[in-house]
Symmetry: C2
Subunit: 213 residues, 2 copies
DNA sequence: TACTGAAAAGGGTTTTTTCCTGTATTAAAT
DNA sequence: ATTTAATACAGGAAAAAACCCTTTTCAGTA
């Protein structure tokens, strides 16, 4: 019987290789390739005619992270099944990736049995949603769908600079904008992300994985 | 031939279980127990007469993290061999744990062969220091040993509160100290950690693993 | 005992952040 | 064609953060 092909994209080699052992011990699957970031994954997938049955995608990675990679997959391989492997359970990050077409989102502290179930579900039924993911999706749906627009590139750039020693005036200079415009970004994000200070903003940016440190 | 006993302390069950498979594939070792935080580890080790040959200890964990756990081990089981498994390569975090008696410090993006070598070295030679760790230790030694005092509990508590929406006045209230004292902590830490703003402080605290988010 | 160093606190000032309320421009939606 | 929405920007003011420099207290120790 032919085994299902799985590709792992994760920069933590120890985790990636360990996970390979675990998955192989399940019996039905084989790890056809391991990559350390989205860039390598794209290079690999372009050079292969046989697509994997499942991609296990880490969120936090250097060079090209899970979100960017998922966006590329969504554009170029919309039918590719992808299961997100993440360390944090931040809502907006989850929503973002699911909107980009990820078939499931699991935390790294999941137990191996559940994990095996998740892989099977995605490969055979097309998706896997744990109870808490369903809850989060439901909450998201039943909200007054305003906060679901993702942040613009400029705001992401701003958020990155917020997480530093720079003053707003310096940030404005670097972004070729008026300090008053920057103040507008700030106020806008405070409201949208429900925080009351620059530190709160920085914490949100990090927790949500919107910016990498 | 009797196998060496290894205990894994890591809250990411998927990683922990995968790692178990990897280590068992090496042949010489067996995983005698897996725990998800320092608290559970202590409970376990107290109930066992046979100590493990090696403890693989994660740094970032809920309830009781790697630093706290290492401190306990240092007090109660000074001869216990511990290999730190971390995600970040922050200097002060490394120095801290090595001072507490950890026998090695490896990053989770290590490749499995190196990892196998590290385990072997710690069990048979008592320690494992990769080249870059040695470099860091050397730099640390050759510094004008002033900044090596670890931060006090009060300062750690303060750092935790810095990473929030709270104002310094509110922080002072929560810590039953005068805002002026808090201002002193702030100035002190700015100098010691070489930052110029509260955000910089928060970023440092997170990067170094001093506080968990 | 007198000295030293760290923690806690206060007075006062400057800079930065935060919060208002507005306006002009442009692009998209109705 | 007109409303709506997002972006870029301003003036002004209050709050918070950051930076001075000084004092008290207290524990360890030379």
């Amino acid at each position: 019987m032919k085994k299902f092909k799985i590709v792992i994209v994760d920069d933590h080699l120890l985790f990636s290789n360990s996970l390979k052992k675990l998955i192989e011990s399940f019996g039905d699957y084989e790890i056809s390739k391991q990559l350390v970031n989205g860039k390598d994954f794209i290079d690999y997938i372009r050079s292969e005619e046989a697509k994997p049955d499942l991609v296990l995608l880490d969120v936090q990675m250097p060079v090209m992270d899970g979100r960017e990679t998922m966006a590329w997959i969504s554009d170029h391989l919309p039918d590719q099944k992808v299961l997100i492997l993440s360390m944090n359970d931040d809502k907006s990050s989850i929503i973002q990736l699911l909107k980009l077409g990820a078939r499931g989102y699991i935390l790294k502290d999941i137990n191996p049995l559940k994990f095996k179930e998740a892989i099977g579900k995605v490969i055979h039924s097309g998706f896997y949603h744990s109870e808490w993911i369903s809850t989060i999706m439901f909450e998201e749906m039943s909200r007054d769908s305003n906060s679901d627009e993702l942040l613009s590139d400029k705001k992401i750039e701003f958020l990155n600079k917020v997480c530093s020693d720079k003053t707003y005036k310096e940030i404005a200079g670097e972004m070729f904008l008026s300090p008053k415009t920057i103040d507008g970004y700030r106020a806008n994000l405070f409201k949208k992300l429900n925080v009351k200070s620059r530190v709160g903003l920085a914490m949100y940016a990090i927790k949500s994985g919107l910016i990498k440190i």
